[in-house]
Amino acid sequence: MTTAGTTGAAADDQVPGLDGPLGSVGSVGSVGSVGSVGSVGSVVVGAGRGDTGWLRLSPRSLVVRPLTDLVRLVPLLAGLLLLHSGTGGRLLWGLLAAGTAVVTGLIHWATTRYRITDERVYVRRGLVNTKLLSVARDRIRTVDVTAHLLHRVLGVCRVSIGTGRNDLRPGESFHLDGLTRADAETLRITLLASAIPSGLAGLADDVEGPSAAGRRGGGAEADRDLVRLRLSWLRFAPLTMTGLVVVGVLFGAVIQIINATDVTLTSTGLVKMLVSDFASLDIVQRVLVGSAVAIVFYVVVALIGYVAVYWNFRLTEHGADTVRVTRGLLSLRATTISLNRLRGVEISEPMLLRSARGARCIAITTGLHVGRGAEHEGSVLVPPAPRELAQRVTAQLLGVPEELCAGPLVRHGPAAFRRRLFRALLAAAVIIGGIILATRARHGPDWVWIGSFGFLPAAVAVAIDRYRNLGHRLTDGWLVTRTGSFSRRRNIIGTDAIIGWRIHQTLFQRRQGLMTLTATTAAGQQHYSLRDVPVEIGLAVADQATGDLLTPFRQH
């Protein structure tokens, strides 16, 4: 761990594979030239402006930032041009915004530098408040290279480094936006140095011929494909929520355009015609037509979404200890995950996907956080695909028997079932009660509230499914947990990744002899629970999973 007092040591660092010999890090005294120095990795290194060894982004990135900012303004500008409704003031604002975008792009390029030493990676950015981020290289879990359409046109990309800490705080994430492909590839290989430098698999179609990094790879062993997208998997596209998200985004974009351009959609001829046609139908036809249109629209959007996100999806094995995920139609994404840092895999089966015998896999690793939009996408190991494949790939990646990913689990017993049944029936009772009250108050037809009793058998079915899905298993250093009904998840976590236990017991659980055992970890969702597990079984699991951690506190 380097500290401000020992920058001298850092002076000997070399950047392998980059710029040859490097200058020394400036003495602490030269901090003066840097405004205020913040740090991620609890390290502040004096770094004067004159230092060598600091690398810049590609000059082409100068174009990227202003253009991306301008693209956001396109709806507004289009509106101004199309409708001629823009007053001089509006146009002025537009020009001002464009000018600001160009200037900030320039500042961004001029002030962003990065530097790699044997031990640490530094990123410096900011004009007024200079921020110096640094991270120890052995903390790097993942390297994520993305390139959206504009990036691809200009031949640059964005590199994010997943360190597992501070990634969530804004301004403290490790990313470099606007590196050339070759630089990015060199960086990726350098950072995950143990990886075999054959690289370029994912972005190969875009890299200018056999690039430097590719040639350097020379006779390296070929990558092995673990997963490759098949067209038949498109059948899973409408069965996930991804489609809904795309619909939401589209809807937002349309609203934005309407707002920006002052178009009143309802007054355009086409919409008027459609509305009047629709109004002439009777109620049954309206429902039929409405749902048919909605379903077709949803399926189309879901297919487009699936293709856009997962096109060319490949999960490849790079040598012995890294895997690489590459995918995308317009925006490309290449995520490299160090296998030593892969703590586990989540196999998730949302209800619709499950009914079609499909599943998808998400990496449980410290560099990639799950459940957070883009980051979530970064950790996808298998897109919605046949379940058997998801299970096989998981077993391969973790080096566990396939039975662990597919086989039966230890159920949590009748008390756990009673809890599930009670909760499901309670929820159903609340809904039915609400419907009865509403129909009484509004003098609605009787069949509505009588029909609502159909929720009871449905609740029982859900409870049974939830109980059957609930389970755990502990074998050979792997803890498997499974929960859920509407969204069933099986988590397979290495017990060496468990860094603590939480046990929770409510008064009701105490009477039923149950508890909720939670393993805390630095990876993925940070906590994985065995819900409503019988006390004895739960404690035995915790005991066996982490040898000496719980044992001193056991009492027999």
């Binding site: 120890a136 052995d138 903390r139 597992g164 800490r165 410290t366 860094i499 603590g500 236990w501 939480r502 046990i503 929770h504 017991q505 409510t506 008064l507 105490r510 508890m515 939670t518 805390t520 970890t521 630095a522 969702q525 940070q526 906590h527 006390v535 004895e536 404690l539 000496d548 951690l549 719980l550 001193p552 506190f553 056991r554 009492q555 027999h556």
Partner: protein, 161 residues
Amino acid sequence: MLPGLRVPGNRVSRRAISYWTARAVLSSAVVVLAEIICAAATSFSTAWQVVLVVTVVVLAAHALIMPRWRYSVHRWEVTDQALYTRSGWFSVHWRIAPINRIQTIDSHRSLGERIFGLANVTATTASAAGPVRIHGLDKDLADLLLDQLAVATGQTPGDAT
């Protein structure tokens, strides 16, 4: 309380009972005051009188029972290997964090805790879900514990993930 799991060795400070009582009384007072204002608007109708009596009884029972119940549950223990706590009252939480995984230790004293000479100690691990908190410690003991844990965690190398 949980068969098969030993009770952590140390209780928290007895003054914590007074602190929890004071806190419960204060928050109850806010609720009751709000209700009195509402009731006054309807010139103390019978319905509001019932509501008032019921809430006062329930909140008084809470202020009497909760702190003592909580005091009987809250325990903590530090060994060479782990930090082990039990907390809660209606629902009970046990937490175990290995000393060599602890990343930061800090203590925090709210105004109320300062009045009663108390402090709480929080130990965080690399897991966002794993902080271990000991509430209602005697102030001096908390300082001692903080030092002791700081030394213990400083001795373990590695990045604690």
